[in-house]
Symmetry: D2
């Protein structure tokens, strides 16, 4: 992210989540209701646990926006933790009031606990859990919502959906799979799809590996917690022949068109004008009621993994987060390609 | 890539391919034979066309190495194009001797031609083909070989193999599939696997999305030409339950071990000490003898795609390139985690 | 800044100033009182106007620190604007309640108003003033204070002082100069010096221009608002001969020493173990009670520059900000050279 | 440098100097004669030693340019070392033929030798000298020449001159000072000025410290070997009052003008449309015929500094290098502000 830069922060049970976005042009209208709707989309989904009711996330804008429009200065977004008073004692920054409440020492397989405790030299695994939790994706969705507001100005829109959960491939089957897993104290992952429409030709590039659009999207989506696979376009690329796979090029009424989109909108590391289609696989949630074998990080004795209140399945949320991530990549690419310090200039360059 | 920085350059039929690597510590032994062997690995593989015989790539070191060891200054690698004299007239930098030899104007579906010609405002598609060609991966393999030499000092080794070509899943079937496609004037893709062994715990991080190791690997591998999918670990993550998928943690003789590696060596965006296992899907090569429908970029008239001498299948090469890319990511992460300006210092920090 | 990354945000009269610092190792003790003392140092100084009394800045830590130590996750610092209720109407993010209170349209020569209004397409120059104001340096001092806490762990300490204000070269003369300027409705700049002591040899590098330590310091200090000149070491370098200027090298009791430090602690783009001495020139504050000729940005009619409550002289604050900036550069260099994900690891590498 | 990216490489007596520039738009005309003239400007100057005759640098383009125009792909520039055959034995990459010819072990005060040998763990100081030598600036001038060709398309032009050498302030005095120093076996530095004209308003920004134009210029110029001070605009800023210093704003025939340019073309971290005026101080060359006290890096015994053939004064070359560096910063800023993947698009955005 070279022009649409951002940093996010915040622990799962800390005071708040924060993001600073640097690089937005001035005079972009910021619809705070839209951001909040995106946050709501992330919180919904069958299979989520009790926390979702506590959350009801809303964003507050602390800087960079005046009278509904960006100033060109960094935009700060904050999502307060409504439950913080219950965690204050446990999450306090102050060194004077250390408590071992909510401390835990058993690694959860599949989570950051083990590697994180080694890397950051921690014996209370809460010090790892708090930031490695997927809670942080709430603020990333807010950042993505701002990116989506920017993209809308260029006519670019995105959406996402769940393709599969466990072995279920329809809404009805999703619920049955989740119910079954929940009853067993188990968890599930699945497959999701993100689509962006109406893109200009030529975002990204083949000229250097770190400028390919698919490479940037892959990083953005793979770094969503629990995502283990990212694909662009038709999943069967590996077993199709060239003549089956490649999207032939036609001209209708002076317009270049395709009749297929196996490439998922990206050829040669660039957007080719077709819909960008990204799919991703999410692994099952690592925090299980049904315990897995693990170790105590202090004694190294065999024990059962810690259980922190959790969801059975968060694939729907994962789709929303992935959609937000792709928005950020596309916003960055639009800014790189068209330049512009205010929306009027960006759009003039774009419409040229 | 923050510490192991590099830029590569060069056209498919230009004078040479070049890479400058900046950020290597001093006193790393550079075994040029090893680099050349890696280049050879990329050139082999059933299904490659005639060009492979012309290439027989070897690298020349132009800077940064003295008496067999790095100086800490940027290392320059050059692979000369042995066939350049036959292309000199066509690829000359000089503006005085423009020729239309080897020009072409028909978009190849699946290649960079269409989007590239729009983006870079070109009517002779050779101006797109020359850099978008996979030829440039030769120098990327050389860069990766240097990264592998660095990683070896820490005991880290990598390998790669082909998992599937078309519908073939064994060496024998690969050849049969390729022969069939070749006879039909068609092309094939496939699936490959890259494995790195003996990694320290804690490369990458969960603390910010752009520091996750899997995200960085995903970008690096997805940007290999023709790769459309990147996965870490077990492919069935989307349909397994948490209790089936997650790798339980055990302690044997004071050592933390796993009995499974579904996570592919990465949990919470970090290496967890198990083998890193990356798989990728390569689409079929876009340049087919059997012509696809396309357009002329000048007249927009319907025509057949241009055929430039090409391979039937390059999945084996793709595996070698992906392996090289992952090496660069891991070298960067080692440098970030352990610091050090000379090998002696890097290793002292590492062995601490 | 590659490892010690940060973004800051906030308007002069907005809700708050915010910073997110990403890249700190875990287990660094954060002394919030020290940060607040640094904020206080910035606010003192003869010649400051009324705002300083309103400010009395204190920082709140919103993330990244638990029980007095960093977690390795991003650290969020917030300085609330205690006067915000008086500005709420003027600085509101909401689009529904637009007011023209506190709007102004006359460019202040020497300030960002003119170029900013062109760049960001603004007619109410408050939209430029709010972020271009030096108010934002408060949060930068807080970030620098965190960097200083990190540096202290390695024995590295910094300080700064005013060398000259107007024509005054002593404390007494500074005050006389400021009193005179204030009486005339005028403003003053001056010269400051930042010194860092006890640095390891070899921060920065000569191997690539963008890795020189002096280059990074120059950017960091030149970007302090109103700074127009940055120097390292003896100011008379341009008129001294080589034999007068260069710091001869001696060995006393097995230790390499210098008897002079004309180089200001940096040779070949690297720290050489001597004190790093940086001086900078601050131009006079652009907001004058005594009006300058200017234009109205809407009518382009000649008028007098806008006067917003301001200081006569802020050279002491400038020194504190410059000192904070240099701390950030040095912290980044320490992290790059020694690596480490927690303080224990950083220090082990350092002491090796 | 975010869009105009480049890496350079090469040792002083190695095979060649190389640069790869990534990020240039397609269809920029590359006038190789212009690049060579810039290289010549760097080599001239009273006070240079014998090497200048050997050098007579010329550039060869290895990639990224076809028929006189850029392709959008990385541009590779090479300057061969015409004297390499005399150095082959000493600078060979091969580990088999190590020689101690041309090795040296005495630190030169003022040079990178001491800190470099500690940082990179070297006992033969040639391993430091070779890359820390100012020889590498030749390829940086070539890169800057490409940036200047780009800037010319937007009507932006640059120049530089020497302001002072030792105590000399005129051409005649420069020569007298140099002759005197040379006779004494001593060396000299001086002051230079770089001016860029015809810039658009609004390059750089105040919104975040690392986006200020003056900050970027300061880094670029301070990292020129031997530069110890960088200033923008009037040198007397520290002792002038606000009413004396700030450039009042007028309107003549509908055009905004200034009658003074004390700000040196930059206000609020942005170009304001006036000439950008940068001055820099170069310290005297560290390699003296008249020996300085120093140490042997192996024995730590007191000795006299090593003398490698050198110049008495290189201030004229320094001016050319600084001019090249500023060109790179400005080219990057133009690319960031206006975007564009080919020159036609860049210019359309610019002229909008």
């Amino acid at each position: 992210m070279e022009k649409f830069r951002f940093l996010t922060s915040g622990e799962s049970h800390g005071k708040c989540l924060t993001a600073i976005i640097e690089g937005l042009p001035a005079n972009l209208e910021i619809d705070i209701d839209f951001i909040n709707e995106e946050l709501k989309r992330r919180q919904c989904g069958y299979g989520r646990g009790g926390r979702m009711k506590i959350e009801s996330d809303t964003v507050e804008i602390m800087s960079g926006v005046r009278f509904g429009k960006t100033l060109g200065s960094p935009v700060t977004l904050v999502i307060k933790n409504n439950d913080f008073e219950n965690w204050q004692k446990v999450m306090i920054a102050d060194p004077k009031n250390i408590t071992s409440d909510k401390a835990f020492t058993t690694f959860r397989p599949g989570h950051a606990d083990y590697a994180g405790s080694v890397k950051y030299n921690q014996k209370d695994l809460r010090n790892i859990l708090e930031r490695s939790s997927a809670r942080k994706t709430a603020i990333e969705v807010a950042v993505g919502a701002v990116a989506k507001l920017f993209l809308k100005q260029f006519g670019i829109t995105g959406s996402s959906k769940v393709l599969q959960i466990g072995n279920g491939k329809t809404e009805e089957e999703f619920r049955a799979e989740i119910d079954k897993a929940k009853a067993a104290g188990d968890t599930l992952g699945g497959k999701i799809e993100v689509v962006y429409e109406n893109l200009p030709v030529g975002l990204g590039s083949f000229v250097h590996w770190d400028r390919t659009l698919d490479g940037k999207i892959a990083q953005a989506v793979m770094s969503v917690p629990a995502v283990k696979s990212v694909s662009i376009g038709n999943h069967h690329a590996y077993k199709m022949t060239g003549s089956e796979y490649h999207d032939e090029i036609f001209c209708e009424e002076g317009k270049i068109i395709r009749k297929t989109n196996n490439a998922g909108g990206i050829e040669g590391g660039m957007s080719n004008g077709e819909n960008i289609v990204v799919t991703a696989v999410m692994k099952p949630i690592p925090t299980l009621r049904k315990p897995l074998c693990s170790l105590d990080c202090v004694t190294l004795e065999q024990t059962e993994a810690h259980f922190e209140r959790s969801d059975t399945c968060a694939v729907e949320a994962c789709a929303v987060v992935a959609e937000a991530r792709v928005a950020c990549v596309l916003a960055d690419e639009i800014l790189l390609k068209y330049g512009g310090d205010c929306m009027e200039e960006c759009l003039k360059h774009f419409n040229n």
